[in-house]
Symmetry: C2
Subunit: 538 residues, 2 copies
């Protein structure tokens, strides 16, 4: 039960203002909060189309060598017999396929180095031989960036999962790139620290992959982007050179900050093998509240006021619409958290060093939201289980959508006031296009959730089947809409194979040209993660 | 007077523990807290040696064209007659000379564009003609990075000082690069926001220069580095191309984050003309406390405990030694803040949204520090004037040292436990070398202060005169010491002409090679800020 003394006291105070008390029911049971679980059934279903069949137009670059037995033998000399997977379709399947089963490559070889030197030896050989390579972390990405398109060799960082060191005074962690985010977070927890980022896939994703994709996640609002928290990287360049930039200093102004180039480079210019990252103290007090609201206007009001009243203790401000809740309910049977349903929900998390102070700040804020008519209803989690329950609702949307026959997924950012206008506009556009709103329409729902604090919207268009007339209605329409509102076509998921051809909607020709120059300089043979990231046209 | 009810109540509680009450006297009067004042007398004294005479070994690169009247005429067509300074030694002096009067160039021309297009036109011409260029912001740097060495053209950003826009929901500011940091901070103050960085030179330094040098300053501990807070840049490349990356989004994962390259590039690969930056809410409650301590061991204990108890409200943790205090007193006559003097001092600032909560956290922390014997004495500022008084002490060291006949200035970072060992080691080393500790020794004092929270030490060796045997004792000895302790030879001041040849102590040959490749790619004619930043040897 959520009901507890603190909430009752809040309720009674609210009652004085002739408002109904906060109605409180039971916690939301976890749907199955981690991608780990999803990946288990991913391996059972082999009926995934190849990317090149699903999205025609890809042509294998014949500059790349085709893998030979001699190549495999050479890799055996580097890694031993157990350090690679070769030829067996079943073994290769989870490395060739993304967890959403949207993309599938045709690689015959997965390499699993355990040391930076092995990665260097592999890359040197691949560069000399012109073998194309796809670096792969936890393979939890959403844009097809971590799986091959054709027969590229997969370089899995799974085997590089050692924590290298931790400075207990400064909170600086050094680790192999293949460490799982949640493992690091739990390890740090015992020392009173935490990872500065958190995302739904944390049970599977690697810290190296997080950095290669510049993962944002749930707490960017509080702890900032990886460009600020990553202090050093060890990177193997395409020619095998080891770039040792594993600084453990908060301040170091000696030359161009080269490591920044690799943050968000999606494995196209180097393989991240080691990480140095600044970790914050784990907060002694964490509170999570859920509000029900009538409009996105109210969501914005609640956000603006939270930045003033909760300020330094605000650690997350997430929203979703009722469509997201219905999608969750379709694939799981949560008990209701509130008596009624509302068009919008926000999840607010605070993290601070003094429980009494934080409770007081949060309760005052919630009271103000109710008295001012911004929120219609609200609950506050009373213990760790209830906190997890509320978070599992927010984190469950991706998985619920994954159970739909087809989903068009978008991850866009723009000024906060425009966020939901984009969703409503898309619904109308699909209705006008005749693919949504009728009984036999291919589009079954348009679902929205995201990080209000970061102006980041996850827009999901669920469909009974993939249809070209639906795709044609969405793209480039959505990208044009985003560009017209100074937004980004990929806020945090990255480009991969899904967005690379649309880069021009978010970056100028001058920027794209400079990116290509950078790529050519660092990877002149273009062996790293080909067919992705940058547009193929000149 | 510092005495106030809150302090008295703390004192009485401490008295219960048989500790002497916190002794409180009057506020420290400001020495003259801003670099602006220093620069006023800088122009009165023309007896500054040229860099090339003081530091022999520089040879003018004859690939650069010498300025002609035709060139000046061409710049007049771009900027008009009032947009440049030409030929007059007095007018040129403040642009040729750094404010510490350590470096002096021989430029005959200062250009003052007012628009990005003018900067582009200037750079295109200079690149075509192979005229070397030094971009200059507020010229408050400490490593000679912003003044010419020979006859390079100075490109001053003074005239580009417009605020472009501000988003009141997200706190994102866009501005010209030539805006003065303090002007921006005051402007934001009226809107309830603040700049995420602060430094002693804020009355003169430009935001563009801050970003070009990756300025750290006093509040990095709280708001993080510019690599995290800068969201977008507009940069004119050496060939005149305008790189428009003025994103106003917190999240944008579309391609390499090119703007990061320019943060800390010290004007060697482009001219920053526009800035988009995330600004935090100005805290409703700010407290500043000063503690007197007996050892650097105690300073570390106080720091570690502050991260636990003050956590999310901690916004600065600065330290200085008694030598720094004596240096301040030598050039100003502050009233004593505490009854006695101590070997070490720490200045602690908290910033939060609830004054009562913050007071309680800070008082509990201070009480613990006194009861545990970590601190010997302490005061808490009671109002804005007293807060400024305490800060002016911390910010006055640079200016006080500037009044010494000669100062060897170092800005290094390393793991916190090693910070003061470095100072003590240097004192002993100079004594052993026979240049310190005797009546006629050239070195008069070794003064230390810095940002504990960032592992950043400002080490200053004051001397009665510059002597080569002193320099020879300090360098490369200090840089070797820093390198042996995994530190950086330049934490926040940058490389400029002062540190570039020592880069190898902080960066590997592979890193330096890649930096040079980057420089050659972006500035093939090497016209930007030559003789600096990267080592001249291959």
């Amino acid at each position: 039960m959520f009901a507890a003394s603190r909430l009752r006291s809040l309720s009674s105070r609210l009652a004085l203002n002739s408002l109904k008390p906060l109605v409180v029911k039971t916690a939301v049971p976890a749907l199955s909060s981690r991608v780990t679980h999803i990946r288990q059934y991913a391996t059972k279903d082999k009926q995934v189309s190849y990317t090149v069949d699903k999205f025609p137009g890809y042509v294998r670059n014949e500059n790349y060598k085709e893998l030979t037995e001699q190549d495999v033998d050479h890799f055996r000399t580097i890694l031993g017999n157990n350090g690679l997977l070769y030829g067996n379709e079943d073994d290769l399947f989870p490395f060739n396929t993304d967890w959403m089963h949207k993309f599938r490559g045709k690689s015959q070889l997965v390499l699993k180095p355990k040391t930076t030197q092995q990665v260097s030896d592999i890359m040197k050989y691949c560069n000399d031989q012109k073998l194309a390579v796809v670096p792969q972390g936890g393979n939890t990405g959403l844009v097809g960036g971590s799986v091959p398109v054709f027969d590229e060799v997969v370089l899995s960082l799974q085997g590089m999962n050692k924590i290298r060191g931790f400075d207990n005074v400064s909170g600086i962690l050094t680790a192999d790139a293949g460490c799982v985010l949640e493992v690091l977070d739990n390890w740090l927890g015992e020392k009173g620290y935490m990872m500065p980022l958190d995302l739904g896939a944390k049970g599977s994703c690697h810290i190296g992959g997080n950095i290669a994709t510049n993962a944002g996640g749930l707490r960017l609002l509080r702890y900032g982007s990886l460009h600020g928290t990553v202090l050093g990287l060890e990177v193997v360049l395409p020619d095998g050179t080891i770039l040792d930039n594993m600084s453990t200093l908060r301040k170091d102004n000696t030359g161009y900050d080269l490591k920044q180039l690799f943050i968000g480079s999606e494995g196209t210019i180097g393989v991240i093998t080691g990480v140095s990252i600044l970790t914050p103290h784990r907060s002694k007090a964490v509170n999570v509240a859920l509000l029900g609201l009538n409009s996105f206007e109210d969501v914005q009001k609640a956000f603006k006021q939270s930045r003033i009243e909760l300020s330094e203790i605000l650690s997350a401000f997430e929203f979703w619409d009722t469509n997201a809740l219905q999608m969750f309910k379709k694939h799981a049977t949560p008990k209701d958290v509130m008596e009624k349903e509302y068009p919008f929900y926000v999840l607010i998390e605070t993290s601070g060093s003094n429980k009494d102070h934080d409770d007081e700040k949060l309760n005052t804020y919630l009271e103000n939201m109710m008295v001012d008519g911004v929120a219609e209803d609200g609950v506050v989690a009373q213990d760790e289980t209830q906190i997890r329950g509320l978070w599992s609702l927010r984190e469950g949307f991706t998985e619920a959508l994954g159970k739909e026959p087809a989903v068009y997924k978008y991850d866009i950012s723009m000024p906060v006031p425009k966020l939901y206008e984009c969703v409503e506009d898309m619904r109308q556009h699909l209705r006008d296009g005749g693919v949504f709103g009728q009984e036999d329409s291919p589009v079954t729902d348009v679902v929205a959730y995201g990080h209000v604090g970061d102006g980041n919207l996850h827009l999901n268009i669920a469909a009974s089947r993939l249809e070209s007339r639906v795709s044609a209605l969405i793209e480039p329409y959505l990208f044009e809409w985003v560009a017209n509102h100074q937004g980004s076509i990929s806020a945090e998921h990255g480009l991969g194979v899904a967005k690379n051809e649309f880069l021009g909607y978010s970056k100028s020709p001058v920027m794209i040209k400079m990116m290509k120059t950078m790529k050519n300089m660092l990877d002149p043979n273009a062996i790293m993660n080909p067919y992705k990231y940058l547009p193929s046209s000149p």
